[in-house]
């Protein structure tokens, strides 16, 4: 009943693997001759080749997968952070800034005006100085404000670089007595709470768009942050969930969870691994709320509160009042 389709001859079977190689264009010339001679005689194998060719054409039509832009940005930051860590390990910290420059990479860089970036770096260098009792001058603050948002990521990275450099410089002015002198190596392993807070404030002041907008998705941040990330339920304060993103810190990363409130208020909740952070602080005051120490302070006009609960670090930055901030941090750290 079957229309006689010739069954493959032994040579078909023998040459079958070579057909793939033939289509891939990887046969040696003698093999090529052998296969083509067979193809000229064998309708079945010609049909097979035609089908395989069609199949391959279909495979090529599978739409290429593109990495999402947010992922690309994150990987860029991950690599920069990794390079920075390596350079820190290799180079003694007395060396100049661990920044490698390649002028040909301008088309990748999010900024194209070196002057402006230098200005930004300068500003961060100074504005991270509260640790040493410096005051940020008006002009520096103004130049900082005029920076477009898209500069914020390099800005935060720059803050990381600048912070470490300013900490590591051999002769800082005698800072506040509360900063206990410790070996430089401990600075590398642990960043002070003040340094973290500086980064957090920078991101709160000039927020980046969220990488995820679904509350469930923030769990994906867990491996990057090193602690479980759970968006706090701040709805009862009238806060509306906006989204979350990863914030590269000096030696780790934090998750930033962004909320908005009526009246144009914004709330940034940060979740970080507190093992990488020294709790003592020179700019934040310690208060005890419900038997838990909470660090509070006002930095550059923003109220900040930070605490630790069950091995997870939480910080909140808002333009709300301090009591409201304490309520928020208490609600964020369940």
């Amino acid at each position: 009943m079957k229309a006689a389709s010739p069954l493959p001859s032994p040579s078909c079977r023998f040459l079958s693997p070579a057909m793939d190689t033939y289509l891939d264009g990887e046969l040696s010339p003698p093999q090529l001759v052998e296969v083509e001679t067979h193809l000229a005689q064998c309708a079945c194998c010609r049909e097979r080749i035609a089908l395989d060719r069609a199949l391959r054409a279909s495979m090529k039509r599978i739409p290429p997968l593109r990495a999402p832009d947010s992922f690309r940005d994150r990987m860029r930051a991950v690599m920069a952070a990794e390079r920075f860590l390596q350079e820190q390990k290799q180079a003694p910290w007395t060396q100049a800034l661990p920044v490698r420059c390649h002028n040909d990479s301008t088309n990748v860089l999010p900024f194209r005006r070196p002057g402006k970036v230098a200005a930004a770096t300068q500003t961060v260098l100074v504005s991270s100085e509260p640790l040493f009792g410096r005051v940020v001058s008006w002009t520096e603050r103004r130049s900082r404000r005029t920076l477009p948002v898209r500069y914020a990521a390099p800005f935060v990275m720059a803050a990381g670089v600048a912070f470490l450099v300013s900490v590591h410089l051999p002769s800082p002015p005698p800072a506040k007595t509360s900063t206990s002198p410790s070996a430089p190596t401990s600075f590398q392993a642990h960043v002070g709470l003040d340094g973290i807070v500086e980064d957090l404030i920078s991101l709160h002041a000039q927020p980046l768009p969220p990488e995820v907008t679904q509350p469930d998705e923030v769990r994906r941040f867990d491996p990057f942050v090193g602690v479980p990330v759970e968006p706090p339920k701040l709805q009862r304060f009238g806060a509306k969930w906006e989204g979350g993103r990863i914030l590269p810190l000096r030696n780790s990363r934090a998750a930033v969870l962004q909320y908005s409130m009526a009246g144009g208020h914004r709330i940034s909740v940060y979740v970080y691994d507190p093992r990488r952070v020294r709790p003592e602080s020179s700019t934040l005051k310690q208060r005890v709320v419900r038997d838990t120490p909470i660090y509070v302070g006002n930095i550059r006009g923003y109220n900040v509160a930070a605490t630790e609960r069950q091995g997870i670090g939480y910080a909140v930055a808002t333009d709300l009042d301090e009591p409201e901030n304490i309520e928020l941090i208490a609600a964020s750290a369940p």
Binding site: P17, D24, L51, P64, L125, P154, L169
Partner: protein, 214 residues
């Protein structure tokens, strides 16, 4: 005191820039390997961190895409190694599920023609599904060859195996793909299974001939 400001600040160095240029390929291969975009992102993340740590081992001027994809592949295989699975496929009873010559010429023509007709988008989806269903080492070989269009040599480098192994994985992977598509073609009525009768292989054919000769 204020530390001297850097003259210039660059966020991305040339190695990172080159690596980012291959991010789509890494992500694409990672998606095909893990079959899950979230895991794919984790995999690429891990691979890029490894690449950064091993960047001294990369020789500039050599094939960076292959180097990065090799890191993705080994990271995946180390993390998700599923012991005996591949052995089962290679040596189990289904080792050769689609005997050569199983499909008649008319079937092959029908499947091929469907490609150019209205069923194309449907088959496209089926093809993706069939690709995802392949055992991982076959899938990787087929993706690298047919989607990423890499040479046998590059695939051998990436998979860390001899070229002969690449060829056999490709051959078997494509055979499994064709077999899955054949089933699909029958289900869609593109091919008439009855006309194809029972799957025949050479041994059965010879046995029948022997019987008929008696």
């Amino acid at each position: 005191m204020t530390p001297p400001p850097p003259t210039e600040l660059c966020e991305v160095d040339s190695f990172e820039k080159d690596a980012l240029a291959h991010l789509d390929a890494m992500y694409s291969v990672a998606c095909r390997l893990t079959r899950n975009p979230v895991q794919a992102e984790d995999l690429v993340h891990d691979a890029l961190v490894k690449a950064m740590r091993a960047r001294e081992q990369f020789q500039p001027g050599t094939n960076m895409k292959a180097w990065l994809l090799r890191i993705v592949t080994t990271t995946f295989l180390n993390q998700y190694k599923r012991g005996g699975l591949e052995r089962d496929v290679l040596e189990g009873p289904n080792a050769d599920p689609l005997a050569d010559g199983w499909m008649s010429s008319s079937t092959m023509r029908a499947m091929r023609d469907a490609e150019s007709l209205a069923l194309q988008p449907l088959l496209q989806e089926e093809l993706q599904a069939a690709l995802e269903a392949l055992p991982e080492e076959f899938r990787l070989a087929v993706v690298l060859s047919d989607v990423e269009e890499m040479s046998y040599k590059e695939i051998a480098d990436i998979m860390g195996c001899p070229m002969g192994t690449v060829m056999s994985r490709l051959h078997r992977g494509r055979k499994l793909l064709k077999s899955a598509l054949y089933e699909q073609a029958v289900a869609l009525g593109i091919v008439d299974e009855a006309a194809e009768a029972e799957p025949t292989n050479l041994d059965e054919y010879r046995a029948k001939r022997r019987l008929a000769a008696r």
